[in-house]
Symmetry: C2
Subunit: 313 residues, 2 copies
Amino acid sequence: MSSNNVASFNEARRVAIFGGTHGNEMSGVTLVNLWMMNSREEIQRKGVETQPFITNPKAVEKCSRYVDTDLNRAFTTENLSAPHGKDLPYEVQRAQEINRLFGPKGSSEAYDVIFDLHNTTSNMGCTLILESSKDHFNLQMMNYIKKAIAPDSCPVLLNEDPGLKYATARSVAKHSVGLEVGPQPQGVLRSNIFEAMRIILKHALDFIELFNEGVEFPPCTVDVFKVSERMDYPRDSNGNIIAMVHPNLQDCDWEPLTPGDPMFQTFDGKTIPYEGAGAVYPTFINEAAYYEKQQAFVTTRRETLAANAIRKV
Amino acid sequence: MSSNNVASFNEARRVAIFGGTHGNEMSGVTLVNLWMMNSREEIQRKGVETQPFITNPKAVEKCSRYVDTDLNRAFTTENLSAPHGKDLPYEVQRAQEINRLFGPKGSSEAYDVIFDLHNTTSNMGCTLILESSKDHFNLQMMNYIKKAIAPDSCPVLLNEDPGLKYATARSVAKHSVGLEVGPQPQGVLRSNIFEAMRIILKHALDFIELFNEGVEFPPCTVDVFKVSERMDYPRDSNGNIIAMVHPNLQDCDWEPLTPGDPMFQTFDGKTIPYEGAGAVYPTFINEAAYYEKQQAFVTTRRETLAANAIRKV
Ligand SMILES: [Zn+2]
Ligand SMILES: [Zn+2]
């Protein structure tokens, strides 16, 4: 795929935009519905076939994250190869269907790019989520978007640790891009979050059009936050949460947390400090959907990735 | 009940604090669970029997607003007098049970005071909700709380219009007080919102203790926001929402909205202004739970209520 440090990729002709992978994350649900109904030209680009798609319509209908199980954890080899049947959880059936339509995952017939649109209750701004530090096409896209939206920023979260990553809906594509925009409560549509997501998509599609037209992108570097560790809430011996995210940490996604800094506040007013070995950059701080996953936030560490030049084959 | 402009009330010996009337509003759920388990002394007052109570345990278990129907709309005469049966919606059965435990509604055996703890995704701060402008006991309590928390503020929302008010869980008591604190996403516990709610409850219970001890409260006035009108999102002919709360209005609960001010923003970027006859004070702006009730916000108008002096019988 690479020669003289220039990585070559086929044109990215088949692109999908997923909304409603979590049915109560309203920016993606609303944008995808809008694009499916009457504003298709907004996502059309020369030489690109862009497919807006509601991934979990039953969850969207109920305005809940999921019906039976988290769709964005359901794209495991085991699920995708399970014998088809009505007794499977709804989201597993749906994962198989999405895999047929946009995959099969890992095959040459899979879609070129899938964008998956999410919202978070955390103060994460416009976060791009990468699943591989080796995907030079995606790294070039992140670099393009970051430059296009400057002086606004969009942090890149790299989640490639096999012990921490999960089987996402977007992982069906050759190049998968998660977009996580917040803060926005579940079930709410905020205009600022909606417009921020829309602008990121615009630049991402512009990048694909330029690439397909033959533009060569020179080598670059991309600063990322690499997922390091999941942190749970403090609990008593019965598993009940006994503390909240400390007010000094709440809403401070991407800011350094250094040993000794306040991390949690117990219900009786005691501060629990961070006691790690060095500075980390927390994110997904106090995300509503992660209480059930026993996660108060994740820590990340900063890294700079090198991207090769890319051009089309 | 009143003589020489002094209203007399019996001591308020039986007080309940409801949490989890909506199962995904975490401040009340957490406070009530805390008080039930091991911090009862925090809500104990001399001469007052305070009962913390989870009103909708099944919804709390699911971390959803309700299971079958909104419990905080279920305390109608029709529901409370319906023949008991397992085929009734869960929340109607639960309303009957709560009415037996803390009512019967409208009877002399009913609890003296019920506080019902709610959260909102709207930027409403600590809002006290009154269901009657004639309840001098409650008006005096609001006045006491407002003075106690100054310079912080707590707006009082008056909802007594028969066409707009609804059959709340707290309406079972002789004096019902709603507490609505935000902004906080559903399913999230924020330390600032948690502590703000806790402080209001502290002052409310202090007031009851003082009243029971025989303190006479002199006449006073209470500034309130009286619910005026429900405003829905703009919709197309199929009923689909076509606009969002305008960024100039979002998070501006309690601030004046005057004719011509931006109110909504359509998905294609057009501004829809407010076209009422005069200034109103919107609140419950972009509350997650009110999308299904077809309500983008409510308008209110400012009024000053006069409260008689009160003392115990
Ligand atoms: Zn999501
Ligand atoms: Zn509520």
